[in-house]
Amino acid sequence: MSDLVTIMTWLGVYVVAAPLLLVFLLGICSLLRWQLGEQTTNKSVQTAIVSGLVASIAILVLMLIDGTRHVVINIGDWVEIPHYHFSIKFVFDRLSVPMAILSFLLTGTVGAFASRYMHRERGYNRFFVLYSLFALGMVVTSLADTIETLFVGWELVGLSSALLVAYYQERPAPARNGLWVWIVYRISDAALLLAAVVLHHMAGEGDFDRLLGNGPWPDGQASLAPLAALVVGLLFLFAAAGKSGLVPFSGWLPRAMEGPTPSSAIFYGALSVHLGAFLLLRVSPILECSVVLCVVVVVLGLLTAVLAYLAGSVQTDIKAALSYACLSQVGLIVAEIGLGFRYLALIHLLGNACLRTLQFVRAPTLLHDYHTLENAIGDHLPRPAGPMKRLVPERVRSWLYRFALERTYLDWWLSDVIVSPFIWLFQRFDVLEHRWTDFIAGQRSRESDQTKPYSGPIEELT
């Protein structure tokens, strides 16, 4: 192994190790109830993120010097038994390196912003534990060279996002919205898990090299039959739709704005919402195996872009408006992937992520500036009419306005057509079980029906 490759290997290990160590540090201190000061937490975050960023940039520079475009770092088998092994492998290529650098760059920026924004906030420490978990998830997902490793990072991102949405936990709304986000994530994660397992079976292992062809991204060619590619690709698309808020899961995105601004910026404006598109880019050789799949991807992307544009146009809350603006771009990125423009999609993704981070971080002060301006002129700022007013008749515009105001009815559809009947059905089963146990017991059998949660002083329980 040449010296350059050895250096790149060690740097690559460090890129993953930096956020992992941060998780251990902050997590173990929380478990042991050692309260870290704000300064110590900030220093740890800065050290881990900046050093991780420097290591990723160093790898990029070394790759450019060496002329190599595909560096694989095999940590080894996490688990190995006959007929099954779980490898931990990371890859540095044209897709993962920009994504890893973007992750470090934006988490670092938002970390610095959050250290002031969250100053003396209750749960400061909790925020940074979840932040470190998110950073680790993003880096692992970006660099994963096996589908199982990607799944690990994907899950970490999902959990930290849901808990951050519910960060302001003294109110019920953030908790409800956090749960909604988690439900969407879990269902789409199940699709990813299945896709991972099915692919593992087809290729005998979960390495992307094996699954997507040996060529470095984006030149790999998957050797899947069109039908197999369609099934696996649809599972991937479902997973991507959940994570990126594509139709029909777009409703979780504005709900996620319940979290603090730094987490909105990083998780939903910049990184998390692009993760679905990143997944599609990673498995794009599979998309190429099926024309039907490509068409589905393009249609879903365009549909998301149009609906997000409509919903975003009528939002009165700046964070919700920004999130829909971001989503409409994500829809376009997905459509570009479906059309086979991979580099364009990657550049679009990087640009959109940086722009939205800036907008989210600027949002609180922008509102303040607007108020100052409006106070100065003594009136609302003038808003020029959009092209819709000239091009679309009044009746259609009213309908579109209502449609957009209801966030294109996607939440209603998920809630009333899927969730409510599900709850209704199983509540009926619960009632049947209740009657059955009452019948066998010959008396009222459920204590939980009569017992109300205790709210008095604890001494009375003794």
Binding site: V79, L159, P172, G178, W182, V197, D430, T437, R446, P453
Partner: protein
């Protein structure tokens, strides 16, 4: 003589019985708790030594063994399947005793707990069919006494357990005369299959489990179900002799139970019932893995078994600690307990996520293996297993949000976690995260156990085939 050659398992069982007797003489609950803790802790230490002896391949000497002295042979012994289960059962008893709050010491019977521990340890180290059946029957008695002592309705429990015992004895009565022939008639295996389904709480005979959680003290309810005695009975009694169609039937019913219980867990309004359904879903997933009869699915099922015992055991202990503070927990409302006890909230998340197979925890590789084995058998089974796991994850986080967030809980006294509870929490977290980050040892051991089970089953089938060819 090597210290590991001592019969530590026998010592552990005897010490549990001795402990039960001693603690039953203590009338002061705090004193009883101290003695109970000392006994369960020592028993746990002994089971660790027994496991270590098995792991290192040290043959236990006969010099100190009461079994060889009185019976001439060993009928209670650890093998690949039971070796890690015995310490996990002992650990669960120890942690339950350790995390028993003062408010609960009067209600939780340490002597009955120790007696149950002795029966469970004997059950999990027993391979002789009739003795195993006797121990499984015996296991049901302390639970009945618990209900009677608490003045709770017993009919649901008694009816189901009577059905279980009756079917088990009936089934094995038909099996035993043909024991050397191995190919069992339907009238032997069907009652056995039904008995296992009743004991594991499969739908539609699952109501005793939710009823048991309604009426028993949480600690005893947990200790009765968490070690998965029903699954052990299936692995020892049904799996080696059952024809394929019996295993498929078991698998179909278990698969349905897993998804049904997962759905029910997501809509429950009471924390105990939620836990009961969560548990039911996972114990059924273990049975699904057993039924698939491949080395991967079996290794996944056995790993999941271990993870369920520790993960869901710890999850139950966290819920119990919460109940000790605020009484019976409703999931219909938000409780906002995070600020009052952040350590419990973290433990709730860790144990809850471990039980649903979150990456980095004990259950992750187990769930991966199980889904892998399921997809290998049939894609539809894989989809259902993955969907059940996803629903259980939703149920866990819903419970977390309901219990720890949504409002600010006002309390006149501190609800912070106590030192003993904190030790229990840290021990469990270390095991769950340690086992999740370094899973090779555990998975290899479970794979070896799976191979042993498969080998036993293939041997039996081969012998049976030879027998039926001979006129």
């Amino acid at each position: 003589m090597n210290i590991l050659q001592l019969p530590w398992l026998e010592f552990a069982i005897l010490l549990s019985l001795l402990g039960a007797l001693c603690v039953s003489r203590c009338h002061d609950p705090i004193r009883a708790s101290r003695w109970g803790l000392a006994f369960t802790g020592t028993v746990f230490g002994f089971t660790i030594l027994a496991w270590l002896g098995h792991y290192l391949g040290v043959k236990a000497g006969d010099g100190w063994s009461l079994q060889t002295y009185y019976l001439g042979s060993r009928i209670l012994e650890l093998d690949a399947l039971s070796a890690p289960l015995a310490p996990s059962v002992a650990l669960l008893h120890f942690l339950t005793a350790l995390a028993t709050a003062r408010t609960k010491m009067r209600r939780f019977s340490f002597s009955w707990s120790l007696a149950s521990e002795a029966i469970r340890l004997a059950t999990f180290s027993c391979t002789d069919p009739w003795l195993l059946i006797s121990l499984l029957v015996l296991c049901t008695i302390p639970a009945y006494v618990e209900l009677v002592n608490r003045g709770k309705p017993t009919r649901v429990y008694v009816l189901h357990m009577a059905l279980f015992v009756g079917l088990l004895v009936l089934g094995w009565t038909f099996v035993e005369p043909a024991a050397n022939h191995n190919a069992q008639p339907a009238w032997a295996v069907i009652p056995l299959l039904a008995a296992i389904l009743v004991r594991c709480g499969s739908v539609p005979v699952h109501c005793w489990l939710t009823d048991w959680f309604e009426h028993a003290s949480f600690g005893n309810a947990l200790l009765f179900v968490a070690p998965l005695s029903g699954v052990y009975a299936a692995a020892r009694l049904v799996f080696p002799i059952a024809p394929d169609w019996v295993l498929h039937s078991l698998g179909i019913v278990s698969l349905f139970t897993a998804i049904y219980a997962a759905c029910m867990a997501t809509i429950q309004q009471d924390a105990r019932r939620f836990f009961a359904y969560l548990f039911l879903s996972y114990s059924s997933l273990v049975l699904v893995g057993l039924e698939l009869v491949t080395s991967i699915s079996l290794a996944g099922a056995l790993s999941l078994w271990f993870s369920v015992t520790l993960g869901l055991g710890g999850f139950g202990l966290t819920l119990r600690a919460l109940e000790a503070r605020v009484g019976r927990l409703s999931l219909a409302d938000f409780h906002g307990l995070y600020d009052n006890s952040p350590a419990l909230a973290v433990c709730f998340l860790i144990t809850g996520l471990a039980s649903v197979g979150f990456p980095g925890t004990l259950g992750f590789i187990a769930t991966e293996l199980l889904v892998d084995g399921a997809v290998e058998a049939n894609l539809a089974i894989g989809i259902i297993v993955a969907f059940a796991a996803a629903l259980n994850g939703i149920a866990v986080l819903r419970a977390y949000f309901r219990l720890f967030t949504g409002k600010r809980h006002a309390s006149t006294v501190s609800l912070q976690i106590g030192l003993r509870e904190h030790i229990a929490v840290l021990t469990l977290s270390a095991l769950i995260l340690g086992g999740g980050l370094f899973p090779q040892l555990g998975i290899s051991s479970r794979h070896d156990a799976a191979q042993e089970i498969l080998h036993g089953r293939q041997e039996n089938l081969r012998t049976a085939a030879r027998h039926w060819r001979v006129p």
